[in-house]
């Protein structure tokens, strides 16, 4: 097979990824040869790099399929890349103030984060089972190390190890599924697979392959029952890393899942929709109930994110353009809420260090009214109370589900949402009803900025970003159909 790369300009669709590769390697070299104190400067360069790549994607969009069909850049991929680049960017900013405490003040942190981001960008743009796997593994390997960055902490090491072992298991499932599909269709390119399925029967081998493939991806978005790693890793990993885990990889994995099912398995949509519905219901229900029993704030957020992935999958279950659009909107709002929430958690620092227990929030409204207000806004938004952003996120996915006549799923979703309100509201009550027990140190300006931005977008969602977001997602989702 001849290469389709004839000159430099034909590489244009993959420019963003190339820039990140080069940037990451330069930072790696610089980190190895410079003094340890330079890591802060390198973090600044990383931020600048991510910013430049985001601007490149926004300002000079170049769509196309290259590398013999392994890599696709379309408007959907660009939208998702912007989301995950923004998540990575803010995750680094979040880590600045607490880098020392979390042993993140090392250049490897920036490098690993960049490689993880690169892997996710490849996932989003993957148009072939092989590039898909490369992307998935690239981000996964980086994330394993990130989770265990804090070597002296046994909790972090345990988290990293668990993540690695279970991640390997899920990779195995993914690969096994991919090989089954290749075996039964003779193709690895996503659009070609669809053509073969359309022509032939829907064989049992193909369906097995589909199930294994989806199970591997379900692990990445931590959908029940492939979610078990999530609470432990979220709790054990350094908080800024958890913030990163909770945002960017979810966007990438969801984007990959969407592309895979909409492009390759459109002809057997009845089969994959069954699986997605199962994952969705299981995630929503388990997360709602399990979160009630949590005492650690990060574990609570872990279950919350499991639940929210369940809600996002409600939109995908519809298998329609409206449904996919709803997921795209959901992911954007989810990222805004998650980053704001982690900024708030990273602001909770007393003289003994960072606090993580839910009961530590007691009386926060008196000692730190701004952070308490932001947390309250985000909690109400996570519940899905109008007119906050979280309401519209849920509204879009449920609307899509109802249009697809998935009434039972919608009812279960709404009930799960009602149960989940319990633990979100409990946090608000702790903050506003109880007397404070401890004093917190004033939050860093960059954290306050992220909280204010997140709170503002959530509060004014309907008036500020609702219309542009809806229009953009409708346009980008169009490139999948």
């Amino acid at each position: 097979m001849n290469s389709d790369i004839t000159n430099f300009s034909s590489l244009a669709p993959i420019f963003p990824e190339l820039i990140i590769i080069i940037g990451a390697i330069i930072i790696l070299m610089a980190g190895a040869f410079l003094k340890k104190q330079a890591s802060v400067g390198l973090a600044g360069i990383t931020i600048a790099l991510l910013l430049v790549v985001s601007l490149l994607i926004i300002l000079f969009p170049t769509d196309g399929i290259i590398l013999n069909g392994a890599f696709i850049q379309d408007s959907f991929a660009r939208y998702m890349k912007i989301l995950l680049l923004a998540s990575s960017l803010f995750a680094i900013i979040l880590s600045l103030s607490s880098a020392k405490e979390n042993s993140l003040d090392r250049f490897e942190y920036s490098v690993l984060l960049l490689f993880a981001t690169l892997g996710m960008m490849i996932m989003v743009s993957a148009n072939d089972l092989m590039s898909l796997y490369i992307g998935v593994e690239m981000q996964a390997l980086s994330l394993y190390v990130l989770a265990a960055m804090r070597r002296e902490s046994s909790k972090a090491s345990e988290a990293g190890l668990k993540y690695f072992v279970l991640g390997a298991l899920s990779s195995g499932m993914l690969l096994y599924g991919a090989s089954l599909i290749y075996g039964f269709t003779g193709q690895t390119q996503l659009d070609e697979i669809a053509k073969i399925i359309m022509l032939g029967d829907r064989s049992i081998g193909l369906i097995f392959g589909l199930v294994f493939l989806l199970a591997g991806l379900a692990f990445k978005i931590s959908a029940v029952p492939f979610h078990m790693w999530t609470p432990d890793v979220y709790e054990g990993a350094p908080t800024p890393v958890t913030a990163f885990f909770a945002s960017a990889p979810k966007v990438a994995a969801m984007a990959l899942l969407i592309r895979l099912v909409m492009e390759s398995f459109e002809p057997v949509s009845q089969d994959w929709r069954q699986i997605v519905i199962f994952l969705s219901i299981a995630s929503m229900i388990l997360a709602s109930f399990a979160a009630i029993g949590q005492k650690n704030l990060k574990r609570l957020i872990a279950y919350s994110s499991i639940g929210h992935m369940g809600f996002a999958l409600v939109g995908l279950s519809a298998g329609s353009l409206v449904g996919v659009q709803a997921v795209a909107i959901y992911m954007a709002i989810y990222v805004i809420m998650t980053l704001g929430l982690f900024a708030a958690i990273l602001s909770l620092k007393n003289q003994n260090g960072y606090v993580e227990n839910i009961t530590d929030l007691r009386g926060l409204a008196q000692t730190n009214p701004f952070v308490a207000a932001i947390i309250a806004i985000i909690m109400f938004s996570l519940i899905g109370l109008p007119p906050l952003a979280g309401f519209f996120a849920k509204w879009h996915v449920f609307l899509a589900a109802i249009e697809a006549k998935l009434f039972l799923l919608s009812i279960i979703g709404v009930l799960a949402s009602a149960v989940s309100a319990f633990y979100y509201i409990r946090i608000i009550i702790l903050m506003y009803v109880y007397e404070p027990e401890q004093q917190f140190i004033k939050a860093q300006p960059e954290l306050r900025f992220i909280m204010a931005l997140s709170g503002f977008l959530i509060l004014t969602y309907y008036f500020s970003i609702a219309a542009p977001l809806t229009n953009i997602t409708r346009f980008v989702v169009g490139s999948l159909f």
Partner: protein, 653 residues
């Protein structure tokens, strides 16, 4: 000017109510009272040209605002003043201003006078809204407004459980009536296409033969509408079956009883029937119902009044009875006679109540007449005022001449009108009223004798310290006394003179049935003398029983215990209602509270669900054991389940 009459009391109410604690009680009293006096003077200025000129040449309509526009419903907030309204304006604002002034003295020791005066003015505003209503909804607004004010004032001394109970009772019993009233308004809208008074009336002619299915029976629609509206009137005017709240309402301060529960609010039902006379006049059956209910009330309330010992309750039952008279007039078709009695009654009944208040004031809030007596020498001015009120109430006068107190003219008009109706119903009404007149005379004089004459039965120091009321309480009595003496004779022509005089006065504001008035005027002489004779008989027997033979009443009660107890216990209506309505309602409430709410909803559904959630949570939390192999196992179970599901449900086997 009309706006000023209606809204000045509201201004007063707002000032006294919202700023009362800032400007002080005295300022609240002065502001509300002076605003009311201005309102009263303006009312008389409107009334005089109508009464002594050519009637209301034109209906005055003042649009305040557009109110509701929904579909066919286009309501404006219009103040309507015609002859009927003018009469009511005079009654309401005059009595109210006098009661305001009187209250300054009567309530002098009360700690929350601002609140009292705010309520009084609020009531007056609502009552004025009611009488100036141009459509039924506006009427309903005023109707509910006076109901609210009445509730607040009955329960004014809210620390007394009996006052609260009475307030709630008044409110609930009125709710029954108001339910009918509201249905009546709906029926009117459906039937006549409008609840604007003029527009609705113009549609009556075309709606006379429409029938409607209600509660499974086929009824004439207009009759039904009229009966439903009358149900509202029965509640507000404390007619038979819905009367039980009025005597209890005497728990409120005495000026309230005078203003609301004698002179004005309770006559709202009478006013409403008169205002809607074209609707009632279109249904013979409805008119008969009004006549019979009125006659029964007049008779039955008078019988209860015979044996009551609380001075205010006697007057309360008297009010109930007199309202029955008014309804008989309306039912007979002599609407003007009903309004006539409403007009005169307001003066002498307010006088009697305020006089009773003066007695109570003198006796340090003692209301039991068995602990009074001989007060004539202690409070001579009050005594004279009460005598004037009694003479007016019992209808003292010489038939066929212009000599007589206010009640004489109006009451005789009604009795003659009842006779003029004829037939079994007319005769029933006539004889009921004559008997009621006898009883009225008896209990009125009984009240005078027990309170003022004979030797005192009061406690020594109470009697010693009894004193005449201050001038601020006496002056309003003088005004009312003048009204009680002259209101009848002065306005006889306008209300019950020759047909053309009545027509000239009322213009088209109420229906005037010429033949009834003609027949009433031509009633035989014995009919005209019947009421006077009954009055004399009552006077004589009261004199005999309470002055000549003071031991006779007790012996009589002992000799005939069953009728005595029957009357003393108010025909056992409260007990009857307690068994029929109150107890089952409480039982139902208890059931819904303890069984439905506490047990089923709270305990089983809410808390049960909560417990279930906790159980499920505990199980889910346990799943997260922390062991790696558990996690891997869960993933494998998951994929096995998904595969099985796909294979089985997908039909791949």
């Amino acid at each position: 000017m009309v706006e000023a009459i209606v809204f000045l009391p509201l201004v007063g109410a707002l000032i006294a109510g919202l700023l009362g604690h800032k400007i002080g009680d005295r300022a609240s009293e002065i502001i509300t009272s002076s605003l009311l006096v201005i309102s009263a003077i303006l009312s008389w200025i409107i009334f005089f040209p109508i009464a002594f000129g050519n009637g209301a040449e034109e209906v005055i309509k003042v649009e305040i605002m557009r109110w509701i526009e929904v579909g066919d419903l286009d309501l404006r907030w219009v103040l309507r003043v015609d002859s009927l309204t003018a009469v009511m304006l005079v009654v309401v604002s005059s009595v109210s201003s006098l009661v305001h002034i009187y209250s300054i003295g009567y309530m002098a020791d009360d700690p929350s006078r601002s609140r009292f005066f705010a309520y009084l003015s609020l009531f007056t505003f609502a009552m004025l809204m009611l009488v100036t209503a141009d459509n039924l909804l506006q009427l309903f607004f005023g109707w509910e407004g006076v109901g609210l004010a009445s509730y607040l004032l009955i329960g004014f001394w809210y620390k007394r459980p009996s006052a609260n109970a009475a307030a709630i009772k008044a409110f609930i019993v009125n709710r029954v009536g108001d339910f009918g009233f509201a249905l009546g308004i709906f029926a009117t809208f459906v039937l006549l296409g409008s609840i604007d008074i003029d527009m609705a009336f113009s549609a009556i002619e075309g709606a006379k033969n429409i029938s409607i299915s209600f509660l499974g029976a086929e009824l004439n629609a207009l009759t039904l509408a009229a009966l439903l509206l009358f149900m509202g009137a029965m509640g507000k005017s404390a007619q038979f079956l819905l009367h039980t709240w009025l005597p209890d309402a005497m728990e409120g301060p005495t000026p309230v009883s005078a203003l609301i529960h004698a002179a004005t609010m309770v006559t709202a039902g009478v006013f409403m029937v008169a205002r809607l006379s074209p609707i009632f006049d279109a249904s013979t059956f409805a008119m008969s119902v009004v006549l019979v209910v009125g006659a029964i009330t007049a008779f039955f309330a008078a019988t209860i009044g015979l044996v009551q010992n609380d001075i205010k309750r006697v007057i309360a039952y008297s009010t109930c009875s007199q309202l029955g008279y008014m309804f008989v007039a309306l039912g007979a078709g002599a609407y003007s006679a009903g309004i006539y009695h409403l007009f005169t009654h307001a003066f002498f009944k307010a006088l009697l109540f305020l006089g009773a208040g003066s007695v109570i004031h003198a006796m340090h809030h003692e209301q039991d007449m068995r602990k009074m007596g001989g007060l004539r020498k202690k409070i001579p001015i009050t005594y004279i005022m009460m005598i004037i009120g009694t003479l007016a109430l019992t209808g003292v006068g010489i038939p066929g001449t212009s000599f007589g107190f206010a009640g004489f003219f109006s009451k005789d008009s009604i009795i003659e009108a009842a006779y003029a109706v004829g037939g079994p119903l007319g005769n029933f009404a006539f004889w009921s009223l004559v008997l009621a007149a006898l009883f009225t005379s008896f209990y009125s004089w009984r009240l005078i004798h027990m309170t003022f004459h004979g030797s005192t039965r009061a406690e020594q120091h109470n009697y010693e310290k009894a004193h005449e009321s201050p001038n601020i309480m006496l002056v309003p009595l003088y005004f009312l006394a003048i009204g009680s003496i002259f209101a009848g004779v002065l306005f006889y022509d306008q209300f019950f003179g020759k047909e053309k005089y009545i027509e000239a006065f009322f213009a088209n504001s109420i229906i005037i049935v010429g033949h009834i008035i003609e027949a009433a005027h031509n009633a035989p002489t014995w009919v005209k003398w019947s009421a006077t004779f009954a009055m004399l008989l009552g006077f004589v027997s009261a004199y005999w029983m309470y002055i000549l033979q003071p031991s006779l009443p007790a012996r009589l009660a002992k000799a005939m215990p069953i009728p005595y107890q029957f009357l003393l216990n108010k025909w056992y209506f409260d007990e009857l209602y307690d068994v029929i309505f109150v107890k089952p309602t409480i039982r139902l409430g208890n059931f819904l509270w303890k069984k439905m709410d506490d047990k089923l909803i709270d305990n089983m559904i809410i808390e049960g669900l909560g417990r279930k959630v906790q159980l499920v949570t505990a199980k889910f939390v346990k799943l997260q054991s922390g062991y790696l192999y558990h996690y891997a196992f869960a993933m494998l179970i998951g994929i096995a389940a998904l595969l099985t599901w796909e294979v089985v449900a997908g039909g791949l086997l």
